[in-house]
């Protein structure tokens, strides 16, 4: 564990295990938890497209998810009720599977993205995840009060002259970029497990919003550390171990 070989992947995942449960709490607040799966699949498709096109996969993944997050509001009128996320999920999955089926290189990366390939994270990934995660936490903190106010008192929010689009579009973009970053390192389902399960439990158990954020964070970090140790010790892929462990924790706490 002390070896650089595993320390760097561990620290990379730890940053994401702090960020994703907090992001997931605000996605759940907006009833948009499906967004986590949607952006992860779009990021995976973007990464494979970039690979096939001769570009850096991580950049393709982040760019595709960022584009999806930024342009979601343009179609909000026609795609209400979570339809946009369902379409993005299906589209991302379809493109990723077709590329993997027709390109040997894409097949290998596709397996890695869908299995969860944290142990391959290196200094380059860590150097993006640490500042990116910190920046995301700062932005999330700035958006937090307006996200809550817009949810509880949408009319009050509007008549106070608070502009909705910087909060909504800013959060959409933030969620997309964070999930792309997470997908590139934890895999599609590993990222989804950290976004969905800790906030779900926190919403059920916490006595207030602040305590809920702390509870989600603690569950996420605890589950991550335990899953990392188990997967490493048993030589298993990280993503499924993390998902199973969080499911067990979820069933016990819920």
């Amino acid at each position: 564990m002390a070896s650089d070989l595993f320390l760097i992947p561990f620290l990379t995942g730890l940053c994401l295990a702090v960020l994703l449960p907090l992001l997931g709490a605000y996605l759940r607040l907006r009833d948009e938890w499906l967004a986590a799966l949607a952006y992860s699949h779009v990021a995976a498709a973007g990464a494979l497209l970039a690979l096939v096109g001769g570009f850096v996969p991580a950049i393709g993944g982040v760019a595709a998810a960022g584009l999806a997050g930024a342009s979601k509001r343009l179609f909000a009128g026609r795609l209400s009720g979570g339809a946009s996320y369902a379409l993005l999920l299906l589209g991302g999955w379809a493109v990723a599977v077709l590329l993997a089926a027709n390109q040997p290189m894409a097949e290998r990366l596709g397996h890695a993205l869908f299995d969860g390939q944290l142990y391959f994270a290196g200094p380059a990934q860590l150097s993006v995840v640490v500042p990116g995660g910190l920046l995301a936490l700062v932005v999330l903190r700035r958006l937090a009060k307006n996200l809550l106010l817009a949810h509880v008192y949408p009319d009050f929010f509007r008549i106070r002259g608070l502009r909705a689009w910087p909060t909504q579009s800013g959060f959409d973009l933030l969620a997309a970029l964070c999930l792309a970053l997470a997908t590139m390192n934890l895999g599609v389902m590993g990222a989804f497990a950290l976004v969905f399960i800790p906030p779900w439990l926190a919403f059920r158990r916490a006595r207030n919003w602040r305590a809920g954020l702390w509870l989600a964070l603690l569950i996420g970090v605890f589950g991550y550390v335990l899953a990392f140790g188990i997967a490493l010790g048993l030589d298993q892929p990280f993503g499924p171990v993390l998902a199973l462990l969080l499911i067990v924790i979820g069933l016990v706490i819920a």
Partner: protein
């Protein structure tokens, strides 16, 4: 007294005109009640004053820089949300000072674990005591028991004495009588 709001021959609605012409003026420290039969457009007038509903005729003149607070009949969506009463008040900048004893003790509980009446009063308080010059309340006595209505009446007067102008839509005649300085009754086809 400073005039906060001047409404002249206002006809408001959503897709089409839905109210009779309305005239009213409101000064700082004044409470006006808006009453009338169901469907006459009381809530639509309030929504127009808040800039939500469409103005089809007439005009609304607001004091420049006027800060508004609006309570609608929609219940804040807090089911399943770990949000306490204290956090709700912090969101709108309302102070808990002056809350009735039966709510003070429950301020740190989750809103979705309070009774409907307790939750409604906290949601109302968060708007009533938000920093605002003009407070618009739509059926504030819904879900309140007699003690709640009495407390609300007293605090509307306190809020007005502190300088806010208040417009209240209500079907509760006794409450309107006790709480409001003036009452404007809307009738179909007749604004006053």
């Amino acid at each position: 007294m400073t005039s906060l709001l001047q409404v002249e021959a206002l006809v408001a609605g959503w897709q089409q005109p839905a109210t009779p012409p309305v005239n009213l003026s409101l000064a700082a420290g004044e409470i006006i009640g808006l009453t009338g039969p169901n469907g006459v457009g009381k809530s639509t007038v309030l929504a127009a004053l808040a800039g939500r509903a469409q103005v089809f005729a007439g005009r609304i003149v607001r004091q420049p820089g006027l800060r508004l607070a609006l309570q609608t009949q929609d219940v804040p969506p807090v089911d399943g949300l770990p949000l306490s009463g204290r956090e709700l008040l912090q969101l709108t900048g309302a102070s808990p000072q002056g809350l009735p004893p039966w709510l003070i003790d429950r301020l740190d509980q989750r809103l979705d674990r309070l009774s409907g009446g307790q939750r409604h009063y906290l949601a109302l308080w968060a708007i009533l005591h938000a920093p605002a010059d003009l407070v618009l309340l739509d059926e504030p006595t819904n879900n309140l028991d007699a003690a709640g209505v009495q407390h609300l009446t007293a605090h509307l007067h306190d809020r007005a004495r502190a300088g806010a102008g208040i417009v209240v839509v209500s079907h509760d005649a006794a409450f309107v009588e006790a709480a409001c300085d003036r009452v404007l009754r809307l009738e179909a086809g007749n604004g006053e």
